[in-house]
């Protein structure tokens, strides 16, 4: 099964990995250990073949919306969701089970500052 892991965050500065930009005073050792935690996760899941795709999104203010709800097509400044935290990036994993996908999600330092959502991908 494929799962999409969505990272939500609201950092001081928008750059990736976004947890290093969290609105929190992080010590240098905290930063190093979290970066290593993410690198280890990438290494492990690339070696296991589970990690399929990664992409980090640009800041929400760069988003544009295409909509034709009123019958006329319009392109406006986005993002779509008006929220305190925004979609910052996504990861796609091939996992044996939802439990395994959640196990992977727990290893993202982003759970400390933002939110990680795990959702199955539909096979059509």
């Amino acid at each position: 099964m494929r799962f999409m892991l969505m990272i939500y965050g609201n950092p001081k500065n928008w750059s990736h990995p976004i947890f290093l930009e969290a609105d929190a005073e992080l010590s240098e050792s905290d930063r190093t250990s979290m970066s290593e935690q993410l690198d280890a996760l990438f290494r492990d899941t690339r070696a296991s073949g589970e990690l399929l795709d990664v992409f980090a999104l640009a800041p929400p203010r760069q988003a544009k919306l295409v909509s034709a709800k009123s019958g006329t097509e319009v392109t406006t400044d986005g993002p779509f969701a008006e929220a305190k935290e925004f979609l910052a990036g996504t990861f796609i994993f091939e996992c044996e089970s939802e439990e395994r996908a959640i196990e992977i999600a727990k290893r993202f330092p982003d759970t400390r500052f933002g939110t990680v959502e795990v959702r199955p991908i539909m096979e059509l």
Binding site: R2, M4, M6, Y8, H16, P17, R46, G49, L51, L52, D53, V54, F55, A56, L57, A58, P60, Q62, A63, K64, L65, V66, S67, A68, K69, E73, T75, G78, P79, F80, A81, A83, E85, L87, T90, I92, E98, I102, A105, K106, F108, T111, R112, G114, T115, V116, E117, V118, R119, P120, I121, M122, L124
Partner: protein, 132 residues
């Protein structure tokens, strides 16, 4: 440049293509829209602009993880408490954002909710794909 096209929706039934789940379509209209969408997908495939994409399962199948004050919580449902939810995405490679709009416009979902277009960067952590 790489752009992510995020498709949002709030259909009666969660199925893909999600725009076919809105309202009461006659079977002729259903077939017509599906054929148009298939044509668009075939053209996009042939253009080489589409890198990847995936339709997401229903929001109620999502789990959301957060750690606060040292305690991890795992709750049912998606992160965003919104009427319209992320339904799927597509990653495209285009010269200009306007080219990404041209692709985004082909999603009938723009009539029911909206399609968001956002750039992806090229630095470390910003884009990686197995076997590429």
């Amino acid at each position: 440049m790489k752009y992510v096209i995020l498709i949002y929706g709030n259909p009666k039934n969660w199925q893909h293509p999600i725009f076919l789940q809105y309202g009461d379509l006659s079977s002729e209209e259903h077939d017509r829209q599906l054929a148009a969408f298939d044509r668009f997908n075939a053209e996009l495939d042939a253009s080489g602009k589409m890198l990847t994409g995936a339709p997401l399962a229903a929001p109620e199948t999502a789990k959301t993880l957060k750690e606060r004050d040292g305690t991890l919580s795992i709750t049912d449902g998606p992160f965003a408490e919104a009427k319209e939810q992320l339904a799927g995405f597509m990653l495209v490679d285009c010269e200009r954002i306007e080219d990404a709009y041209e692709i985004a416009k082909n999603f009938p979902d723009i009539k029911y909710a909206a399609v968001e277009v956002r750039p992806v960067g090229d630095e470390k952590y910003q884009y990686w794909r197995k076997d590429s």
